[in-house]
Amino acid sequence: MTTENSWPSPEWDLFGAIGLLRPGGVDTLHGLRRPAFATRLFQGMVRRLAGTGAPPTEVGSRALSAPPVERTADVTVLGAGAAGRAVVDALVARGLRPVVLERALRTPPVPGAELFSATTAVFLPPPADAGERPFTILAFREPAQGFRIGTRAVVLATGRYDASLLFAGNDRPGVVSADAAIALSQAPRSPPFRRAVVVGGDRRVAEVLAACGGSVDAVVAPGEIRPEVVRAANDLGVLLYPRSLLLRANGRHRVRSVRIRARGGGAEATVSCDAVVLAHRRIPHAQLFFQAGAKMEWRPGPGAYAPVVRADGRTSVPGLFAAGAVAGVPPSDYARHAEALGDSLLRGTDRSEPPPAAAVAEAPTELLGYYRELLRIPGHGRWTACPCVDVLVSEVERAHRSGYRGIEVVKRVTGLGTGICQGRYCLPDALLLLSILEDRPPPQVGYITQRPPVVPTPLAALAALPTPSPAEVVP
């Protein structure tokens, strides 16, 4: 095993001693900078530890080369979930044949559309000023096939994802999102867990219970638990812990139990389990809206940004539409909304300003109060705020103490949000954390620019895409 980040071997990892000696992490920003020879030694060691896996090989890279896909389309729909399908149905009924991209590896056919599954749209720049097809979409199909799509209109039905939660050991194996738990429960093999603790108290928890209720032991909720969840839990014999702080996931190699405490200073308890399923908060997949330059608004419910969407799915960018959960449309309304969207899309570029869509009724999140209480717990500084880059809560607090304000600056000081997920995982919590530290509402903490690509995109996929005209290249 030469590919592991351990030395000399995964069994005897001497560098692991750093974690034992400095459980609060090593301050690489201020520390280890003198004298010069020590700096060189340290840099050599870091160089040895940096990165993951093995250096890339030419053989491995060549195996990825695949002919690129170029398409032009009237309408491109991103996302083939229930909302995306409803939009396709409405468009097909109006005589259009949209191109559909879907990230999931296996996707049922979408009648009337050209479907590319296992394909992720990674870049949607603002539309060009002129031309028949002002939008360009860059995408790639696993493992590395490049896509470039020129299109007249784009419908984003990108849905939502389950957010993370700050607690000790939140990076332990066995801590999973509700998305992952539901997907794993549908896979044709033995369940990945048998005695899970589900975190959350609203409809999302009911969905987890419906999918894998037999493998759930308890529900821990930051706030109240909705009656429908209580009923479902009672039917399954699942224990309920409403208004509880999740303090810690125990277990070295995998979660074995969680430590919880009743909100407002109640008694502590240990609940044994083999997984923690995070179902407390869902965040819109909004990166492509940011990229395209759509006007965004802060939604206090999920505590996240979402596009400003009209009742017929239009965004502030002409030709760019939103459908489904990312537009705040409930599932029962997908079909009706898709019809309105289809009519609006066929009408063409209407630049008039219609009244905005009705505000979406969403349960107000109690997470800010929850975190305020959680962050008073001694030792919270050692919790992981950003697992991609291994940033601890204490590093964020130290940056705050040094006078750095706003998420853009704290991101650059700590490295938080600069790893492979580009902040999708850590940013929702980081905004709340900074909001508490800086004592101002989360929207005033700012937001980090959502840069392309949305997910890591192999250079081979991008390199295979057609050359821009020679005039565009500087000699």
């Binding site: 920003l29 030419e58 250079l459 081979a460």
Partner: protein
């Protein structure tokens, strides 16, 4: 009013590397109250958007000397400012694809070596030994200087910011400089989005926005902001030591201490600051093709982030440092052409002297704002505006 005083000895527009280092040197010299304003957040401009390359290989002696002095300053930075900037002297490798390019690099080598730096001219096999896995025939040869290197730009800014503030410099972020107040052909004050202050000296260190600011103050300057794009890949086990720069298309890339490949290349973009700081599909595909063509093993690496920043370009490739002859008290510290990090530690010492009305050792025909007024005054051109 955001400011703690009504008047300052020196006000500086731009809290990037040039502005902050200048403020630091002014404060160390006991210049009196210094104010720095910036319309963005700390590191929101080119100082937080560059690839971290620091090199001493240039086509003109004056630039080589400023760069050499800056490298020395970066070697001491950790001790002096208390921040680890990950400065790593693992060399800069310039690649030539044609005999003409190699000849050009050879003359760079001659100049650099004559300044006492141990530059080397390499043939194709010498290049291949420094860049493991380079495509056969991708380079005819090149030049290499082992004491060039890369650093992590952000801690340089934090270090300069905290040091300047601890010496009493006031830094107002989110405050835009709107113009200067003048009287009898000299600066009397600075007008900002948060009100005006009295000052006899305004330093324009606004990077990509410096041309806009000078023109707003009624000064016609030739600075042009050009957008340059850059990308970073996911981290992998380190395998590449030097910064690699290709002369033909300006391709440059290096591997950071975290293991990411970071680099860019020159594409034509609309000049000026109005086009904004986005990314383009053309850049992503062209850059990917250049990287994979040169180093095929990079194909499997995923791009995680692309962004852009402004180069503040001048017609002759030299920065503009010194008082504007048309407006006394208006001091230029701009036009670094995307190479502010390579020159700022040395250049900002001179800016601080100029701001106090003291003479500097800079050749006026290469650095003074007056050189653009009479074309015959210009004696040299710095064309190695790459990487």
């Amino acid at each position: 009013m955001t400011f703690s005083r009504d008047s300052y000895r020196v006000t500086i527009v731009g809290a990037g590397i040039v502005g902050l280092f200048t403020a630091y040197h002014l404060a160390r010299a006991g210049a009196g109250p210094v104010l720095v304003v910036d319309k963005g957040f700390l590191s929101s401009g080119a100082s937080g958007r560059n690839g971290g390359g620091v090199r001493q290989q240039w086509e003109t002696r004056s630039t080589v000397r400023l760069a050499r002095e800056s490298v020395r300053a970066y070697r001491r930075f950790g001790i002096e400012f208390g921040f680890n900037i990950w400065f790593r002297q693992t060399g800069y490798l310039f690649l030539a694809e044609s005999p003409a390019e190699l000849e050009r690099l050879r003359s760079v080598h001659t100049l650099v070596a004559s300044e006492g730096l141990s530059s080397r001219v390499l043939d194709a096999s010498g290049v291949a030994s420094l860049v493991e896995g380079i495509a056969p025939g991708a380079a005819l040869g090149g030049t290499y200087l082992a004491t060039d290197g890369t650093l992590y730009p952000f801690p340089v800014i934090w270090g300069a910011y905290e040091a300047a503030r601890s010496l009493g410099v006031e830094v107002a972020l989110g405050v835009e400089a709107l113009g200067v107040g003048t009287d009898d052909g000299r600066v009397r004050g600075l007008v900002t989005s948060d009100g005006s202050v009295a000052t006899p000296t305004v330093v324009n260190a606004a990077g990509g926005w410096s041309g806009d600011f000078s023109r707003r103050c009624g000064l016609d300057v030739p600075n042009v902001a050009t957008r340059h794009e850059i990308l970073a890949t996911e981290a992998t086990k380190p395998f590449l030591d030097p910064m690699v720069v290709r002369v033909s298309d300006g391709l440059y890339f290096s591997q950071t201490m975290r293991g990411e490949i970071v680099g860019g290349l020159a594409l034509p973009h609309r000049p000026g600051t109005s086009a904004g700081l986005g990314s383009s599909p053309e850049f992503l595909t062209t850059m990917a093709r250049a990287l994979v063509g040169l180093l095929p093993r990079l194909g499997s690496m995923g791009v995680i982030r692309a962004w852009s920043g402004y180069y503040d370009d001048t017609p002759d490739g030299f920065p503009v440092i010194g008082e504007d002859p048309r407006l006394r008290g208006f001091v230029h510290a701009n036009g670094f052409g995307g190479h502010g990090f390579m020159l700022a530690p040395a250049a900002s010492r001179r800016v601080a002297l100029a701001a106090l009305g003291q003479p500097t050792d800079l050749d006026p025909s290469q650095f003074s704002p007056a050189r653009f007024r009479e074309p015959t005054a210009r004696t040299a051109v710095e064309r190695l505006q790459l990487g």
